[in-house]
Assembly symmetry: D3
Homo-oligomer: 341 residues x 6
Amino acid sequence: MLKKIVTFGELMLRLAPDGYLRFVQANNYNVTYGGGESNVAVSLRNFGLNSIFVSKMPKNEIGQAGINFLRKYGVDTSFVVRGGDRVGIYFLEKGASQRASKVIYDRNHSSISTSSKEEFDWEKIFDNVSWFHFTGITPALGDNVAQICIDACKIAKKKKITVSCDLNYRNKLWSKEKAGKIMGDICKYVDVCIANEEDASDVFCINAKHTDISRGKVDHESYKDVAYELKKMFNFSKVAITLRSSISANDNRWAAMLYDGNDFFQSKEYLIHIVDRVGGGDSFASGLIYSLINNYSSKDAIEFAVAASCLKHTIEGDYNLISVDEVKKLVKGDASGRVQR
Amino acid sequence: MLKKIVTFGELMLRLAPDGYLRFVQANNYNVTYGGGESNVAVSLRNFGLNSIFVSKMPKNEIGQAGINFLRKYGVDTSFVVRGGDRVGIYFLEKGASQRASKVIYDRNHSSISTSSKEEFDWEKIFDNVSWFHFTGITPALGDNVAQICIDACKIAKKKKITVSCDLNYRNKLWSKEKAGKIMGDICKYVDVCIANEEDASDVFCINAKHTDISRGKVDHESYKDVAYELKKMFNFSKVAITLRSSISANDNRWAAMLYDGNDFFQSKEYLIHIVDRVGGGDSFASGLIYSLINNYSSKDAIEFAVAASCLKHTIEGDYNLISVDEVKKLVKGDASGRVQR
Amino acid sequence: MLKKIVTFGELMLRLAPDGYLRFVQANNYNVTYGGGESNVAVSLRNFGLNSIFVSKMPKNEIGQAGINFLRKYGVDTSFVVRGGDRVGIYFLEKGASQRASKVIYDRNHSSISTSSKEEFDWEKIFDNVSWFHFTGITPALGDNVAQICIDACKIAKKKKITVSCDLNYRNKLWSKEKAGKIMGDICKYVDVCIANEEDASDVFCINAKHTDISRGKVDHESYKDVAYELKKMFNFSKVAITLRSSISANDNRWAAMLYDGNDFFQSKEYLIHIVDRVGGGDSFASGLIYSLINNYSSKDAIEFAVAASCLKHTIEGDYNLISVDEVKKLVKGDASGRVQR
Amino acid sequence: MLKKIVTFGELMLRLAPDGYLRFVQANNYNVTYGGGESNVAVSLRNFGLNSIFVSKMPKNEIGQAGINFLRKYGVDTSFVVRGGDRVGIYFLEKGASQRASKVIYDRNHSSISTSSKEEFDWEKIFDNVSWFHFTGITPALGDNVAQICIDACKIAKKKKITVSCDLNYRNKLWSKEKAGKIMGDICKYVDVCIANEEDASDVFCINAKHTDISRGKVDHESYKDVAYELKKMFNFSKVAITLRSSISANDNRWAAMLYDGNDFFQSKEYLIHIVDRVGGGDSFASGLIYSLINNYSSKDAIEFAVAASCLKHTIEGDYNLISVDEVKKLVKGDASGRVQR
Amino acid sequence: MLKKIVTFGELMLRLAPDGYLRFVQANNYNVTYGGGESNVAVSLRNFGLNSIFVSKMPKNEIGQAGINFLRKYGVDTSFVVRGGDRVGIYFLEKGASQRASKVIYDRNHSSISTSSKEEFDWEKIFDNVSWFHFTGITPALGDNVAQICIDACKIAKKKKITVSCDLNYRNKLWSKEKAGKIMGDICKYVDVCIANEEDASDVFCINAKHTDISRGKVDHESYKDVAYELKKMFNFSKVAITLRSSISANDNRWAAMLYDGNDFFQSKEYLIHIVDRVGGGDSFASGLIYSLINNYSSKDAIEFAVAASCLKHTIEGDYNLISVDEVKKLVKGDASGRVQR
Amino acid sequence: MLKKIVTFGELMLRLAPDGYLRFVQANNYNVTYGGGESNVAVSLRNFGLNSIFVSKMPKNEIGQAGINFLRKYGVDTSFVVRGGDRVGIYFLEKGASQRASKVIYDRNHSSISTSSKEEFDWEKIFDNVSWFHFTGITPALGDNVAQICIDACKIAKKKKITVSCDLNYRNKLWSKEKAGKIMGDICKYVDVCIANEEDASDVFCINAKHTDISRGKVDHESYKDVAYELKKMFNFSKVAITLRSSISANDNRWAAMLYDGNDFFQSKEYLIHIVDRVGGGDSFASGLIYSLINNYSSKDAIEFAVAASCLKHTIEGDYNLISVDEVKKLVKGDASGRVQR
């Protein structure tokens, strides 16, 4: 039987102008749905695992369309609570060259942000489940949601389910102080901690040296210390950090490292010509979960996760619509992009 | 110098699937902006008058795009306050034949609904203005907005500005009871009252006989009584009522009547093949304001207003992008739609 | 627990130019998937039942996209066999006014047409299932598929599952003679027989009088005899016949009748302004199955089925994306298409 | 060997907003090419004849794209002279219901309008040709072009080629006086004269009684006199008049009559739901030429021509992409628009 | 009060195929409007200044749509004269890699090119204005327009308005000889002269050494002499030269220099991945005007102008829809294009 | 008189999602047609030669649209046999960065694959023809088609027509063994042999050293031996080999070599930013044929062919819509992609 993974978070309506049009030029928006935890659910389903996405969506057609969007990719949405007022929205303007991509959030008052404990029966949701994943965005949606997260974590731990969390700090949602406090509480239950090149600093004040992100300078070596500190702080079994060097809105370098408590494993670095980089971090988390749930070695796990997320950058939308075979082909070194006939 | 009209209300982002696609089928949304009062502002500007739209929009690009959308059509947006959290949204699915069009509102917490009295300097806004128009939607946005409406009305009256109000009842925004109470307060300041075939009943419990709207049956004669009652209740100088007989989502009959305190004037009735009927009522209000501000006779006024709004039904989006010449051609009887070369 | 329905047939890739463009004008095709039995599965899922679609699709992404298309609408695709060479295709050019819509089939050699008995474990598929539905298209795909149909029918009967069949004659797939012979064999297992205004004549040589379909003339009365003959021939428990009068490619009259062995029930007739009429018959079958599975009276059943399929004609694509509430509103007489806010 | 037809005129770039959008709303234009004589050339090629289009187009890619557009439909463009400054343009806004379609011409200074006699070797062009067709638009492009027309006519007559001319008066191009004078000169060479319900009046002051075109009122009977007068004036062998009754921009009645010097033949009248009516007259001319070149009886000729042009109204763009079989099916009475599978 | 800038020139309709399609492949054109001086007007309005665009446009909807396009971005169009025959058009095919972008002009006989002196009341237009800008394209439209330019310059000088001119040589509009003569007359009134890497050579025969533009080789050092010579020739207060090194249609290097009579200031050079390079020079002029009108130092001015125009290359259409904050962020060194949430 | 070239092969319907969308994301497909031999026919027609494409297409509109697609570009399609069941299809998903482009073929049972000898009258087809070209795909379609190829070759040789063949191995169509055998038979008739960096190895087991294609490593020097061996094996007059180094799906290096029996000529190598690389090899063949038919020197021929095919990579669709002038400009060294006004 296929392993089951649960993710919990917000599913947002994503509205994006065509191509590189600025918001003020747009006469139509491409309609997709996304959000950290749903992104992971879809990616894992594409890798062949069973994934369950837990959230709350309003009873109208805008909510239903979001659920349909997930169902299309095979995600189990039967535990999505229906109710509340609205679907959170994010507007995405794609940048190019020196012009940055821009995200405008309109997510306050969304259904999930007004959900309550009673709406989620974690005992039932976690039936036969192997892994539970969420990101730091979920608790940032409100104290009620943070509490639901903690509840879920407790039951997951009780059921010996592995818990992973991507710190994913969003300064529009909460202050660094509040994030530090609440994520500190939550991280006690977390086995696998995932962060990007900024999160550890933003949430837990753990800074990497020799790094100036807005100039595309990221010192990989110094992130060993960050990973070490993170692990020490919360006794994580594993810490993974993605390392993005942003050359321009079109071109990024992308790598990651994994600290398994014993050793540090640096992945290959890929130079990526970007189609859509939103969801890049989530695709990394998915790759990592997939490889860990399948007992890959640390070295193989980090290479799989980075290759998976490298490929995500070539796909429109939040979701990483990539198969295990495609990831493995890249891990083995075929980055030539030659036509497959 | 051109006459100036002020309208006050909400400008919403309108998101609509292509053609007749249902929401769950949509992969992109057409992006326009609209809302009763902005619709009137644009239509009057197209008729050659100066129009000022007053509202509040957030400082981000989604707000700016809305302002640009109005500026494109020449509306003066210099009194739009910038601030607040979000642009109200409405999702529009176009119906066909027996399937009804569907509107889903996501307008709570919009910038205008959180505006305060101090943000609008009506003395300045109303400088050299001839007419002030709003609809019943504006006060329905919240008690604060209702109060701003009343303030504006008072200053308008002081400055001898004609005030028109389209009752425009929206049951998603307030109860009939509350609407009745607050609109009752506001109507004291109103000179020209506009209603559709349902408003008088919904807001002031004045019912037309022999009318079953969901079966497309509208008894024109009985609306004389409705107009008479309305006028009596608030001492309006004029009452106009639009009369839509909905044969199907594609085909409507459309007429109106005007009661000027002395006589009742029934317009011609048009059979319309609909392109987009949203904003139909607003286009009627615009036609009426235009003809009254230009001292048309009651008969000519109602014919102009109905012809103008007939033509609106053939245009995509909320706005009636029709010229005075086009309206006059229809009033004179050329409804043949022959190619103009 | 929700009732479960199984349908069995081909899922085709549908490629259609935009709007009313002819094939030779098309620079892009809209991509959807459809086919009689999948259409029924989706419609029943929209009505709130569980539906399982059984078929065979190739292992490539064109096959996967078809499965995703069904999953999006909640259909259970876990019994779709993967293999074979290709997805059957149909090209659809939408007609207008006096110009007919045109379908070009490219469905030979599709995966399902090359499937074999061993690939379908009907005992397992029919676990806890209440209803089994297919159309005359499925056995027409080849002798192997016809045999699979008969197998399925036998097991269905054994398990006391109601079997319905829509005759759906396609002259591109087989001759009238062959259709008559094989459908004759199959109909022995069928409880509910559905036909359109031509099928009984094409398949079983049962003709309606006073009918000239290419002139839009359909004599409802004479179809009573057709229904009676059909029932007599195969001892169906119920026979339903849809009655389309084609005024033009844009406008059709649409009605149906149901013979339950005791009485004949004529539905209301709707005049429909067509958005997309493909799948109209399947939406009728869905409405009929839904109402019969829920024990509607014969009168209510035929009205529900006709109203449901009336609404289908207003929706792009093969699928009837309509809720039970929307059907009931129309049954109750609200055909006005007024905006639902 | 297939019969060859030559047409001579302007090929314009046609720029049209999507659907029913007004010009001021358009963010893109659909790009096609058209013009009376090219429309006829394409339609006749679709009917299976050989057609040669003669014109002048600039040497740039905008000119080449026009030629490619014709080549796509099989028209022989080898006699299109390359040179001059620009392609004439017409902007087309599609009307709906009571709103008229609108054409804005930007055709001055086009290559064809600056062409000279020497550029066209009619002896060579007319080699083995059976029929020569042009419309009143061509001579209206300038005195030079009128003179080229007359030259062509003279050589055509010398070679016993049948000459047809569609009067097609355009008031933006010349006055009624000038049209009357020049067309009077040209009509001496014309065998088959084609006109619409206004042309005879505009060009030759021959008026139909009981007719008010802007109210959709066209008295068919009175056009007998018009045809008779036309024939008498220029000794045409045949006169055909199309009779459009414009109910609205969406719905037209369409019929025609043919006077063959002996009798008057009235066609059936079709009620058409319009997709695109531009080129309607040209499609009639094509149908007439096809049927006369194939020696149809007068009755059959007029029915074929009207049915062909009825179908044109269902097709986007200037060109009538209809086969002889499709026309014949309609002539025989199948106007039901039923799906052809 | 905001500073006011006036620009004077042609507003063209820009028609461009989607993406990288060649003209002969295009089935639709994206519709925008642009032209050197309107580009500057929009960009300065985006920077927060008031800008007035002066031109002449026909009275039809194609002209109106152009005005609306400018109004959308807040430009004052009240001095655009309405009349004349047509809107000038340019067709734009976007190049890629080694394939060059292609512009086909169809701008002869445009309204502005047929305008006369009396139509522009420069005394009124220049009321309270700080800066007047135009490019060498405007006088190239015809002797009448050149004379209007000189008139405007004279009145601007009288009113102590700073005058800037971008030489912008277009060989399709006039010969180098004629350009040299007329621009020589005009440059006497110019304070700030702007040129690209070719203009000085084309118009005034001032050549840069070591430069082969078609091979992407541009010697920055040698342009000091060019700037020095230009200044000497006309006693400009400032000379700015943009320096584009074209690696391919997708990738350009972009820099500029400013000579303020005392010193030469070289900007940073940016490597740009191009979205749309049309309007690049105009966006530079806008940045320069903005920084000079705000009394930036020469160093800061050239950096602001180059950064602003660098960002233009990432935006579709002629207009630089960039804010002052975005430019400043790039000037400060953040070229990473990281997502702004 | 223009030289005539004949090509023979399959014309496929090409269905491709927009931009970089994956198949499972696509809601529409761009519709074009292509295939090796038609690609060469179009390219040569663009270079100004006459080209005749020989194939078999079904009689329906999907077949007609393919013929129209070729006619648009001026190719003579009068020898395309009409009949058979279907148009072969290929689905194309465009890759990006490390993600490969993907082609899914659905070409079995196409009309051409079921064609027979009698349908092609090569004596007539080859009348006045200078060159005959096909690729290894054509004989791979079936033994019947291979035999038709050989027949054509024999008659071509008899008529002293130069025969070129691009080996173009497709492993989905036949095994290497079978390809080797049949291509071995055919190559006896071939004068000019064209191959890519893999074909010689796949078909004739001639391997290049130091080459690992999936890592973008191609050793140009070692292909001299490959060319030498090929020539020796079949006594070709010329052997040309294209050398693609795939850096990523977006960026390729592209070069070629020509062995004329005396010397080896290496072309320049281009670094290409790819728009669409399908048809790259065919555009090389076209360039080579054009230059050889025009008696270019070996050096000039290979440079022309490589420059032509370099430019193809910048154009959407299979066809190389490039003029001789554009190729020559690149050959001369202008690769700057600067705007041509």
